[in-house]
């Protein structure tokens, strides 16, 4: 066992650092630091993604034949850590980490040849059509229907909580193609062109002041059958595969550590009247830091297991639960640290386009919106209660 890096890994770390220094525009870094929402706007990411794509580093988890870099788990960890340290925006996971792996696993050659290079280049912006107004945690009760009509499906229904639907030109969606006794059956996985006639988008503003999510309506939207991934009626299997793919080998500790450092730096500055002198603030910083230390070790244990070809198993299913809780603890601490300045509401979005002098230091503007936005972390991607059910069933056998 060893927490240090080999000479080759240290050399790789240097390469990553130098690459970031050479290719991350200063305005991208600023925009990212002023983004309170989960995902960065596509316009923030575009230059960075182009640079990554030229280097072949957009999709660390993909097999090399489809454009993955062929990294070891340790290299992936180094890359994520260096990106976090430098304040690099995250590439939208909806292409590279969600629909990409499903297309790689179950798509036709034509689908792979068309969609995968476009995901890497950022030519398509994807959104996810899973939740519906009546189907939240009970996802497989979904009702959006796709009825076969010759070479097309005709889609009717609605999806909700659709992150970046207003930016996206493509959606991957779970839709019902037949009624079966089990609600998990009769679901298909299809790719929808968001510019199709019959697609309308209603923005939903969240409590942090951001327009990040939407409701999407489908009114007789025609989708070519050739844009169905895998077999008809097997969509639930692919949807679950996507979730498992997303869960394995997650590396969140590095970004959480940087977020905590930001809060600690605020606390240790004149901006907050040195909130750090409050013993409660000081202790809570330690408490959260140790939580991140434990999370980091859990992530490293998963990576080590993957490196030796083992299934990470139990550990990885606990990560989502802890990552979301730790994120919330950090953002809550941020609110407490900035004190009265947290009362200032700056309605302008995106914050990085602000063209007047803010009432409080610019760096403090996203603190309260981040906390408000962060309440969603224990709800999206399977609420914490669902995660506990899953862990109970898969890990504890109850």
């Amino acid at each position: 066992m060893d927490l240090t890096f080999s000479a080759e890994e240290r050399a790789f770390e240097r390469d990553v650092r130098e690459f970031i220094a050479a290719h991350l525009p200063a305005e991208t870094k600023r925009a990212q630091s002023l983004t309170p929402s989960v995902f960065s706007d596509p316009e923030v990411i575009v230059a960075w993604q182009k640079a990554l794509n030229a280097k072949g580093w957009v999709a660390p988890g993909w097999p090399t034949q489809y454009g993955g870099p062929g990294w070891t788990p340790a290299q992936r960890w180094i890359f994520e850590t260096q990106c976090a340290l430098a304040g690099v925006p995250s590439i939208s996971p909806m292409g590279t980490k969600m629909v990409g792996p499903v297309i790689i696993g179950f798509g036709t050659d034509a689908q792979k040849n068309y969609y995968l290079p476009r995901i890497l280049a950022g030519d398509d912006v994807w959104c996810q059509g899973y939740s519906e107004p009546g189907s939240g945690s009970d996802l497989s009760s979904l009702k959006t229907r796709a009825v076969r009509d010759g070479d097309h499906y005709v889609v009717n229904g609605t999806k909700i909580w659709t992150t970046h639907a207003h930016h996206a030109n493509r959606m991957f969606a779970l839709v019902r193609t037949s009624e079966e006794p089990r609600q998990q059956e009769g679901i298909s996985f299809i790719l929808i062109d968001m510019k199709s006639p019959g697609v309308t988008i209603r923005p939903i503003l969240t409590i942090g002041g951001d327009h990040e999510v939407n409701q999407v309506f489908f009114d007789d939207v025609r989708v070519p059958v050739s844009d169905r991934v895998g077999e008809e009626g097997k969509g639930w299997t692919y949807g679950k595969y996507l979730l498992e793919f997303e869960r394995g080998g997650g590396i969140a500790s590095a970004r959480l550590r940087e977020a905590l450092k930001t809060v600690a730096a605020f606390a240790d500055s004149d901006m907050t009247g040195h909130a750090i002198d409050d013993p409660d603030v000081s202790l809570r910083l330690s408490e959260v830091e140790v939580d991140i230390d434990a999370l980091e070790m859990a992530e490293l244990r998963v990576l080590s297991a993957m490196q030796t070809g083992q299934n990470p198993g139990a550990v990885s299913s606990m990560l989502k639960l802890r990552v979301s809780e730790i994120h919330q603890a950090i953002t809550r601490l941020g609110v407490d640290v900035i004190g009265n300045d947290g009362l200032v509401v700056e309605p302008m979005r995106p914050l990085y386009t602000l063209n007047h002098e803010p009432v409080i230091p610019e760096a403090l503007l996203p603190v309260v919106p981040k906390h408000l936005n962060g309440r969603a972390y224990t709800i999206f991607g399977g609420a914490s209660e669902i995660q506990r059910d899953i862990i109970g069933k898969l890990v504890l056998g109850i």
Partner: protein
């Protein structure tokens, strides 16, 4: 970067787990607790034969040269069996202090005997007024004739009655009150030893030193002992953390078994979502404890700040998690959980002792913050 255990570590884990499962049964534990010293000499001999006493001792002194991760593997198994043999007192603390502070002659004299099982050690450091402050020592050492004179009072000396030598910390009056360590025989004149059965297993004692005379070479080395005490205590924190992981895991396993079998209102307790989610939270606490204990062990030989932050972080976080797991284990066992008819209470008490030893969670979060420059 790799957290995969080596083949040797896998073998060590297998043999320790087998020993606990096959030999260190509840019956044996209860028999040991009734022994005058709170443990079994025969088991100690077996530990020696298995190489466990030699494990962290340097090869030059008859040891196997293992590290804190190896000790952690053993301690986790010891936690599962609630082992009461004085491994922490003799091997981790005692031999650890001799290795850190002793002269080569002292190491040559003592360490091979620890490794072969013929020398038991204990560490007398804590004092009532000090609470958890390692630097606060009022016991004094003065030069007297051609030796030393020790005066003071120590509490919570782990397994002191069984020890052949007790390592006593004291301030040296003639050297600017520098902290130093002295080897004292428990039967030396002026030593009063009041022993007691310790919460959660093993023994403890309080020690009074009144005009105790030792030879000149009873002092371990001559440098300021505080950094060495801190280093050895941090390694003890890592070892105790690993032990706590074994205890927590056992409580979780037993509670899982029980709630799957116990039926009320016509169905197993574990079919209630409120119980299921609590069991999941217990398992998350166990998993986090495992992660952070391993981190403390892997950083046990780092520089003092990194080492101290890792050790205090583990002690603080596991303290919180241990309390949660222990309390919920009792709760889920219902009234049976508070009886001596189940061993849930024995594990509960051992975790309570873990929380207390070397300072509780809030002390260690404070130390973590202080070492982080806050």
């Amino acid at each position: 970067m790799d957290l995969t255990p080596s083949d040797e570590q896998r073998l060590l884990r297998d043999s320790a787990e087998r020993f606990i499962a096959e030999t260190y049964t509840t019956k044996l534990r209860e028999k040991n607790a009734a022994e005058p010293l709170g443990f079994s000499a025969a088991i100690w001999k077996q530990f020696a034969d298995l190489g466990w006493l030699a494990l962290p001792i340097a090869e030059d002194y008859g040891g196997l040269g293992g590290g804190a991760v190896d000790v952690g593997i053993l301690m986790e198994s010891f936690g599962k069996g609630l082992v009461s043999e004085p491994y922490l007192a003799t091997v981790v603390l005692g031999a650890g202090l001799v290795a850190e502070a002793g002269s080569d002659a002292q190491k040559q004299e003592l360490l091979p005997k620890v490794a072969d099982g013929s020398m038991l050690l204990a560490f007398a450091h804590a004092e009532r007024a000090a609470r958890s402050d390692l630097a606060r020592v009022e016991t004094t050492a003065t030069r007297s004739g051609d030796g030393w004179r020790l005066d003071g009072a120590k509490i919570a000396v782990l397994d002191g009655r069984a020890a052949h030598r007790i390592i006593v910390s004291a301030r040296v009056k003639d050297e600017d009150n520098k902290l130093a360590l002295f080897l004292v025989a428990p039967d030396a004149e002026g030593v009063t030893l009041r022993d007691y059965p310790r919460l959660g297993g093993g023994q403890g004692c309080n020690l009074t030193l009144a005009d105790v005379k030792t030879s000149i070479d009873a002092r371990l080395g001559s440098a300021d002992a505080l950094p060495m005490i801190e280093a050895v205590t941090d390694r003890a924190l890592a070892a105790l953390s690993a032990e706590a992981v074994g205890i927590m895991q056992t409580l979780l396993d037993k509670t899982l078994d029980y709630t799957k079998i116990r039926k009320q209102f016509g169905r197993p307790l574990s079919s209630n979502q409120v119980i299921r989610h609590r069991l999941v939270d217990m398992s998350v606490a166990c998993d986090e404890a495992r992660s952070i204990a391993l981190r403390a062990a892997m950083m046990a030989d780092d520089g003092s700040v990194a080492r101290g932050r890792a050790a205090s972080g583990a002690k603080a976080k596991i303290g919180k998690g241990a309390r949660f797991v222990a309390e919920q284990a009792v709760q889920c066992h219902g009234a049976m959980g508070v009886t001596e008819e189940l061993d849930i209470g024995a594990y509960f008490k051992r975790l309570l002792a873990f929380e207390t030893l070397f300072g509780g969670s809030s002390h260690h979060y404070r130390r973590h913050a202080m070492l982080s420059g806050r």
